[in-house]
Symmetry: C2
Subunit: 496 residues, 2 copies
Amino acid sequence: MSKGLPKRSEDYSLWYNELVKKAGLAENSAVRGCMVIKPYGFAIWEKMQQSLDKMFKDTGHENAYFPLFVPKSLFEAEEKNAEGFAKECAIVTHYRLKNDPDKQGKLMVDPNAKLEEELIVRPTSEAVIWNTYKNWIQSYRDLPLLINQWANVVRWEMRTRLFLRTAEFLWQEGHTAHATKQEAIDETKQMLEVYAEFAENMMALPVVKGVKTESERFAGAEDTYCIEGLMQDGKALQAGTSHFLGQNFAQAFDVKFADKEGKLEHVWGTSWGVSTRLMGALIMTHSDDNGLVLPPKLAPIQVVIVPIYKGEEGLAKVTEKVNELKKQLTSNGISVKYDNRDAFRPGAKFAEWELKGVPLRIAVGERDLENGTVEISRRDIEDRKEAKKIVNMDNVLEEVQGLLNDIQDNLHTKALNFRVENTREVNSYEEFKEVLESKSGFISAHWDGTAETEEKIKQETKATIRCIPFDSKLEEGTCIYSGKPSKQRVLFAKAY
Amino acid sequence: MSKGLPKRSEDYSLWYNELVKKAGLAENSAVRGCMVIKPYGFAIWEKMQQSLDKMFKDTGHENAYFPLFVPKSLFEAEEKNAEGFAKECAIVTHYRLKNDPDKQGKLMVDPNAKLEEELIVRPTSEAVIWNTYKNWIQSYRDLPLLINQWANVVRWEMRTRLFLRTAEFLWQEGHTAHATKQEAIDETKQMLEVYAEFAENMMALPVVKGVKTESERFAGAEDTYCIEGLMQDGKALQAGTSHFLGQNFAQAFDVKFADKEGKLEHVWGTSWGVSTRLMGALIMTHSDDNGLVLPPKLAPIQVVIVPIYKGEEGLAKVTEKVNELKKQLTSNGISVKYDNRDAFRPGAKFAEWELKGVPLRIAVGERDLENGTVEISRRDIEDRKEAKKIVNMDNVLEEVQGLLNDIQDNLHTKALNFRVENTREVNSYEEFKEVLESKSGFISAHWDGTAETEEKIKQETKATIRCIPFDSKLEEGTCIYSGKPSKQRVLFAKAY
């Protein structure tokens, strides 16, 4: 099944594309830049959604739904935001097709059905949401407003890659309104913590938390906080962002509230989002040359059971035992698939579930029935012998629970070790370029704080400042590029 | 709180619109015909989604996600389907905005960014999905393919109403492919049963199951099955449809499979969907002049507890007891809201939760603490005295569980009685028009089976054939309009 999957060391990018397709996660569609998320890939996304949705609700947020379209006049109201997205917008101009008089059976856009005002397919929903909040907020009693939406958005990207950069993608976008600046900042930080916790705990993805430089900020934000992960090929991936919007959108859409003294003030805003891009991060953090590797907490199938048998009678005997096992595991909240397809041999099944990243595989043979044992194999260990273990039938539940926890931890540890090994402090531009060229990874270096230097380094090396980490300590230094004084190291990397 | 809500008897349509807005369910947006689904309304929709999603998965379906856009050439491939939706399509023609040279700070569509091929915002996804299935299906082993997607769709309606008919709406659309005609028909029927079970059991909405006439069929289907509910004003509402597509889309998109003998054949298809329209059905089945009435199984808040107290100390005493109660109810799976807002009086809170349709209200006063009692009031009984009950503190859980079940049943019974009372057999066109004029409701009548008669009746009376009920027995009769022979009664009504 994994035949045809290239090795990561040979062509990481090709390996990624092939893996996404072969593991049944997603594929390109007939629509330029838009993907089809296939059932297995969507099942992982659903697990992400459920987990995040609970975290949002536990922190007091409610879901709602706002329109797909943004009238041009609303879209352009917050100028920076509009400017940031104007070049990648899908625009609806007409609302009707008609029969093409020149081509039988074909349709054409009806020129008489031109919209008076063009509609932008939302690239993000600040405009349409803040225009709504104007009517929802009058008094301090209406605040805070803590709302999230799960939605599709469209950004007309020229170079697309499955999950990482697609014209249409799925995401959640939180949009909150507050009475004070401090409360909005606290919300921005809280949601970044939620994202970090989700990444570390559910995805087993270690992330650096920090703040973006001005040039990397969300268009229309005063500050953008982010979590950044490091992929196996040494490139960084921005996994989530949380924006402090200041009063920008409140001013653009005239959203004011009366405080306790009756004084009218503009409200303070935040927005925050993660998208199907997380799928790309998940894949590129854990997977190997044999296919996908999934952390148990996000695996749609945590355990696959493969029967080893001869003939119908053999299968029936094995199945009887497997059904017991399956029931026991399932009733303990473990998701189990019994692969009893007769048209495939065990080896082919092993390869398929390996490709699909199922954390644990249990093989149950006729001989096992006699011995009262099963063979459990874990997906996260590449050495096949080391990955296997013979387990007493009576201990399967306990073993499986232990192994699932162990795999979740092990994946996180491996990824964290990788990041630690691939985060390097450099003190000169020569060294910077050398490391970037030979090893890639995160580079911690001094920067003079100017957009000019940042831009020059980007042009010369393709590395960008991923963030100024929250835990970056103050230290005197000199900018690797300009030699000007700097008080703090920032984190550079090439990025997805 | 319910001030300003018109009476149903005075203006049903206005009552509906006002209720949707005042109960916090939805409102119109700045985008023509598109609605904002507000948090409380969305919470109800989420409960519907969860319940339906489980039913789909329990019947073997998986979720996936397909693109928002349909290239025009794919859209027009299945001609009947294309024709059916061509007049109500939002069409993307450009992919970039630019600064308007004539108006500072304004944007305009960049004429240089015209798409080579226009993209239709999906009004339904058969085209894009069948075009994908072509690559997923080669052999009988790939069948059946049982896929569902939750998505937004756009149909450019000229006259819109919140939930009932909006340009953008949320829905699920199932799309399945099968090796045999019979299997596809069975799937079509199975999904209609799923919808009917959901409507009856979760929404407390009695529905008639039946098949549409040819003129009312989904564009591109061979047969459309439907569930039809009767609203309080005597108008019918189509609550869900399940389509047997025959081989139409398989032919249009060239989807063939090799059967066991290796012979290539076109596959058989179905599609089925329900939408946010169900929210309208829910509202118009149960609600009253005081506001929304929700069946407990779909109520985001099943029990609201209102404290009756004087001063901070009084509130503290009541709260202590309420927290115990709340914990007990919550740990038994009941969703509880404790409304301890100090800025509102109990009367205002009662009215607000009545407007929002919370099934049970518990009032806990300082005197109750002495007596060891609480007052429980049920939302489904209009007579306020009759709705109330004094209950011993120790029996609250049991009472609440009993009452929630009772309300769920009572709402269904009331709605069913209403439908039975408002379903009338008529045997002449005079009688038909008379009943339609004076009483409305479902009318069971003989029809000659021609589209011509159906259309004439529609033009003259605005009544349409809602369906040919599955349980309509064969009986000799004459068409009320043409006098021609008929073998079966069909169900007419004016409809949403």
